[in-house]
Symmetry: C2
Subunit: 210 residues, 2 copies
DNA sequence: TAGATTGTTAATCGATTAACAATC
DNA sequence: TAGATTGTTAATCGATTAACAATC
């Protein structure tokens, strides 16, 4: 496991998943080495930026050669925290929750979705793929018994904050939040928002600009 | 309709949907005026930043008073291009496509989802909510006959680029892309990516940092 | 008028790009 | 050794913060 000391800026962190994706693809195609220039062309960045980014966490290539794909990929995977497994629950078994439960990539990277929760008795007791759907009443107990550390929140806006409160109370420290709401959480809980409507509005802006 | 001349930076544009959300909520609660300071507190920004942002497109408040919520909300709505309606198709009627077809907010803002397309004969011919699901073979004709200007892409990675090519060929100029792939499109086509896996990896980074 | 808050300029900070010596 | 490409420093650019005069 590669260790790194320097602080990685959030700007760089936001680019890391993309680096990881490209390096994984290169690795799958058995490409062994890549230069910052080649990678920049592929990703639409500058070579300079890539070298700065990679240096910000100390990953190093070889002068006159480039970067070893496998090595760099593994270094970035470690920095993203993907060198350890995570246990995850999805709250809300609607279409969005179900869509996410099918993401193959999650399981491949050691992110295991253990259960889904819902209040709809028509859904509770069934399974989605191989994932069981339980009633919200059983959330607290399940989280404690299964060492859950990530919660994916796919509930209606009206109950978003309320459920976030419950989640934080049980000790979950990370929320992937699909609710279009800025959740208020204790400062030791990290939240990453996915706001599909915001993305659409950015798109209409770009479209109407032309 | 408010007109604006200065160029708005992408950094600001990415914040506009959030401003719009907060101002809509204030408006719903019949709040008439807001100061940059109050809004900053609510949104977790600085008052200075808010004033700079709003000034970058010429929206103005009143010195000594603040901003009129309704007026500012409408100005931002116009800048986001939401003063005109859009016709939209969703490609891929899996869980993700279906989830998005249920977003009430889209319709409220004049973004009309006219149809969904799929290759699965088990899905074609049915409806999702009130939205019909057609076969991909009928895509070209439907787009032409219904003045579609936005496409929401929810297909498997393997066929993402191929379908993007088809979309661009018919003349659609905007794609909301859920496929974890950097699409190659003509330069007059705008693409906004939503990458759920990338968001999750940002989350695991933040979680493992602690 | 006095108080509040904007619009706007200046100062600071951080991110990107350019350049090049180090070195494989 | 010559060529390539990194790591890293310096220069530039852009975004955020601070400060304050303008003015409602």
């Amino acid at each position: 496991m590669q260790s790194y000391s320097k602080k990685v800026s959030m700007t760089v962190v936001k680019r890391l998943p993309k680096y990881y994706q490209y390096l994984s693809d290169l690795s799958d195609r058995d490409v062994e080495k890549i230069s910052s220039k080649e990678l920049a062309n592929m990703m639409g960045l500058t070579a300079s930026q890539i070298r700065q980014d990679l240096n910000s966490f100390g990953a190093y290539g070889q002068q006159g050669y480039g970067y070893k794909v496998e090595e760099l990929k593994d270094a970035i995977r470690d920095i993203l925290g993907l060198n350890q497994p995570y246990n995850c629950v999805i709250i809300g078994s609607g279409n969005l929750g179900r869509a996410i439960s099918h993401y193959e990539r999650f399981k491949n990277e050691g992110i295991h979705i253990k259960a889904m929760f819902d209040v709809d008795h028509g859904r509770v007791g069934k399974t989605v793929g191989k994932i069981p759907v339980y009633h919200m009443d059983d959330l607290e107990q399940f989280v404690k018994e299964n060492e859950i550390n990530i919660c994916i929140l796919c509930v209606p806006r009206e109950v978003g904050q309320e459920i976030a409160n419950r989640i934080c109370k049980i000790g979950i420290k990370a929320i992937l939040n699909f609710v279009p709401l800025d959740l208020t959480v204790p400062e030791d809980v990290v939240v990453e928002n996915v706001n599909i409507t915001d993305s659409l509005f950015t798109l209409t802006f770009l479209l109407s600009e032309k």
